[in-house]
Amino acid sequence: MNQDVSVIKITDLDFAYQDIPVLQNVNLEIRQGELSSIVGPNGGGKTTLLKLILGLLEPNRGQIEVFGVKPEKARQKIGYMPQHAHLDPLFPVSVLNVVLMGQLGRQNRHLWGGYSRQALQTARQALAEVGLSDMAKNSFQQLSGGQRQRVLIARALCTEPQLLLLDEPTANIDQRSEENLYETLVRLNRRMTILLVSHDLGFVSQVVKSVICVNRQVNIHPTSAIDGTLIKEIYGGDFKLVRHDHRCAKNGHHPHLPSV
């Protein structure tokens, strides 16, 4: 992938919900092949930034270009994984049918709205990618939170995206799944640009090459620069997230993180 090609380009962006400013003067560029994370406190505007990139929200000022066009026009190239908390956990649907939703809006369907063989194959591949091949026939209701999250990643992959947007992929998942997810993302990153939202700095520092700190304003740092001062700057002096993080203990895997 060509590192010089810009996938997301945001210039001088402001966004407010009614009169409450959420994002101010944001400038950001994501290039092809990047694996970056948006971090920041709750209410800092992380999800809002994702929704602006998807064209679900309109900026009050400034521009967003995704693949060189307006976000609405680039949607077919974007795979999006929302937080699963806003979905109905009792909705009667099979895992495979959730993943297949990624193929909607494409022209390879049968007359009566069924899916083509090719669509089915894409969905099965996406499920294999997140390690849930044997769960295709299961019901979405029966899954754990972490499994649901992976199904939604598979659904995003099933759109055959060039840009993958993930909103809190590490929410509700245990340590082992987190490691799997880490490997999956690194593997996927060989063929697509990935931008994820996370409040989990430990995970982020392990996976991504740069972090985008969103707390009303946006700053970009290389991962190696995540130190005490920076965390203080992002979270306004709240160290809890780091202190609770298993990866940061005793200079373990991350000597560049402060030992606490």
């Binding site: 679900l56 949607r75 999006y80 959730v98 909607l104 369907r109 899916y115």
Partner: protein, 281 residues
Amino acid sequence: MEFFHALVDPDNGFLRLALAVGLFSSITFGIIGTYVVTRRISYLAGAVSHSVLGGIGGALWLQQVFRFTWLDPVYGALFAALLAAFIVGRFGHGSGRREETMIGATWAIGMALGIIFIDLTPGYFDITSYLFGDILLVSGRDLKLIAVLNLVTILFVVSCYHQLLAICFDEEFARLRGLRVDVYYQLLLALTAVAVVLLIRIVGIVMVIAMLTLPAAAAALYTRRLFSMMLLAVFLSALAIVGGLAVSYSAGLSSGPVIILFAGALYFALAGWKKIRYRHP
């Protein structure tokens, strides 16, 4: 038992017609109800059904005062239901905080208009059968209309099954995939509106919402696919209607309320059974 003897009595054509209408309408109750429950629009459907009274009142008033004799109340009902469906679909939905107020307002204003129009209309009208339904008053025309409605519903659902599934499951994602979410949503609401108008013959304006939610909600407890939920909901609707009709006939009670009580009892029994079966020890 008495009910089944009465059914085969050649003089009781009206009872066989009522049963046929009831069984036919359970198809629509089950299918539309499944969407009403999974898409969580029962409050919207309630607003649509109650505003139907405004249309009925308006049609009666125009009939009497302006001699629009061709204007059957069912046309007024249809007009009001579609208008209400459009209003609540367009404005009563989305990220706004006042959507519930909008729905509630449509609900109440529709009913108030209905009563005012009936006040203004010379002569006396008994609106009880509109409010609470009377399946024994159905005609052969009702049966045909409900058959057509069933056909339209089934065609719509079969051709758009996956699109509707995606929209009910995660509207935002469906929109991102380029589905015309608002069009599907309005079509679904319009179909719900037409269904409400035809089905108030059976259980009435006030209670039609129960038949659109109770069988589907009960079915949801025991099914893991939208399609099987529809089938079970259709079956449970039919059970409630046949049972309700039989009891109301034998005991000489109003059919609408007895059907609703049957549906309610089914729902609570199935919910309770599930709670006992799957209780953690």
